[in-house]
């Protein structure tokens, strides 16, 4: 039957369906905003607690060894050439940064890029003079060199001509 709610025009009445719809949408979007704010808070906390001091290079970690104790932290260094020895699932190797070295014992699956000389970030803790790594992450540089060029022992300047490179590939 005909009632006032059918007549669009008076927007001040609460029974107006459009106003009710807008309110419903408003409430839902406010909920989304609250969720987003929580997300931002969480990421901000993560940023401050973990990201700003992501790892300690070997030399700094050794300096702070007493205060670090058994606590878990991230250590960074390059894998020393010829130091890798595997015993079943356990990999033993040394890492080095700024002249300081530490023995590492790692059990688990690493990255396929893991090899002597590559910089790694390890999550773990000291046990005696050894670093017990629970997780291994390979830290690669921003230098991308074609494998073939390095195989022929050329060190090309960045942005060499395509023709030259295509010749070398062929």
């Amino acid at each position: 039957m005909i009632n006032d709610a059918d007549m669009v025009g008076d927007v001040s009445t609460t029974s107006n369906p459009q106003v009710a719809f807008a309110r419903k949408r408003h409430r839902r979007m406010l909920m989304v905003l609250v969720v987003v704010l929580f997300g931002m808070g969480f990421l901000f906390y993560k940023g401050l607690s973990s990201a700003l001091d992501y790892y300690l290079p070997v030399n700094q970690a050794l300096l702070q060894k007493a205060s670090l104790g058994n606590s878990t932290f991230r250590i960074e260094g390059a894998v020393v050439q010829g130091s890798i020895s595997r015993n079943r699932d356990i990999v033993n190797f040394e890492i080095e940064a700024h002249g300081a070295k530490v023995d590492v014992r790692f059990e688990g699956v690493g990255s396929e890029l893991f090899k002597p000389g590559i910089p790694v970030v390890l999550v773990g803790h000291f046990r005696g003079n050894e670093f017990i790594a629970e997780r291994l992450m390979v830290k690669h540089s921003d230098v991308y060199t074609p494998a073939l060029l390095s195989a022929v022992k050329l060190s090309p300047a960045p942005f060499t001509s395509t023709g030259a490179v295509l010749n070398m590939i062929a």
């Binding site: 406010l30 993560k46 940023g47 990255s111 890029l113 590559i118 997780r135 060199t145 090309p156 590939i169």
Partner: protein
């Protein structure tokens, strides 16, 4: 007062919707980005060589940095358009629409950056995710602009929403330089994300093509999204006017034929005379 002036924005709408030459430009741009992406796939997967240390995993280089670049650029456009809206001399709802459209594309590309980076990270670093400064601030950026889009979706008067989101877009953009410099300001697992990465030969050309291809795709998407926004506005206006006139007309008509008591088909109502577009449709009358 409506911020919509029959000036710059109106001319742009006419250009977007009516100009034949502009349609042609859009089509050419769409085809060019499709061709560039196909070319990129071919160069990236077959022509370019594997690299030292990364071997074949290096091929993600042609996708991840360009996608990240588009995300940052899109948010840059949002921030810039917001600034142009806020500046009184250039204030036009056109800039607000561009800002919103660009932010939507930016959010998609930011998510793609995180996904492609995660895949690359698992293969090279050995982990899907880690809380280093670069990754954390990128996740923060995604959440910031999701918030920006949520803010835009809040129903508000056009001018209020435009001003509000312009400020939010500008503030959220502060995170982009933080991401860019995160690798130098803090220790990160992520490699330095400078745009002058040391890349060699055909790899460099392919990377360059990647940047070009995804940038073209961005522009094409932006133009399409803007057009949709304008058409949406038109549809909304027409629908509102139609619904209003139908309601007015329908409400004036009797519900039954007085001669034989048979129901009269009123526009916008069902057989029992209830308005079908009402949110209370199907509920009991109070």
């Amino acid at each position: 007062m409506s911020p919509y002036k029959a000036g710059f924005g109106h001319r742009m709408d006419t250009l977007f919707l009516k100009s034949r030459r502009f349609q042609l430009f859009q089509q050419v741009l769409g085809i060019a980005s499709a061709v560039a992406i196909i070319l990129l796939v071919w160069l990236g997967l077959w022509v370019t060589p594997p690299s030292t240390t990364m071997n074949n995993l290096v091929r993600l280089l042609y996708v991840h940095p360009p996608v990240a670049w588009v995300a940052f650029m899109a948010f840059g456009v949002t921030a810039l358009s917001g600034a142009l809206y806020l500046w009184r001399r250039t204030r036009d709802i056109f800039w607000d629409r561009i800002a919103g459209a660009s932010a939507e594309i930016g959010v998609v590309f930011c998510a793609l950056t995180i996904v492609s980076g995660s895949l690359w990270g698992k293969a090279t670093w050995g982990v899907w995710w880690t809380w280093d400064a670069t990754l954390t601030s990128t996740a923060f950026l995604l959440v910031l602009y999701l918030g920006y889009l949520a803010l835009r979706a809040l129903p508000a008067e056009e001018g209020v929403r435009a001003r509000r989101s312009a400020v939010a877009g500008l503030v959220a953009f502060l995170d982009v330089p933080i991401i860019h410099f995160s690798t130098t300001w803090w220790k990160t697992l992520h490699e330095p994300n400078t745009l002058t990465v040391a890349v060699h030969g055909s790899m460099a050309w392919t990377l360059g093509l990647g940047f070009g291809a995804f940038t073209m795709l961005y522009v094409w998407l932006l133009l399409k999204r803007y057009k949709i926004e304008v058409l949406n506005g038109n549809v909304e206006r027409v629908a509102m006017a139609t619904a209003l006139s139908e309601r007015k007309m329908g409400a004036c008509l009797p519900t039954v034929n007085l001669a034989d008591n048979s129901p009269i088909d009123r526009p916008g109502t069902d057989r029992s005379g209830d308005f079908i577009d009402s949110p209370y449709y199907g509920e009991e009358d109070p």
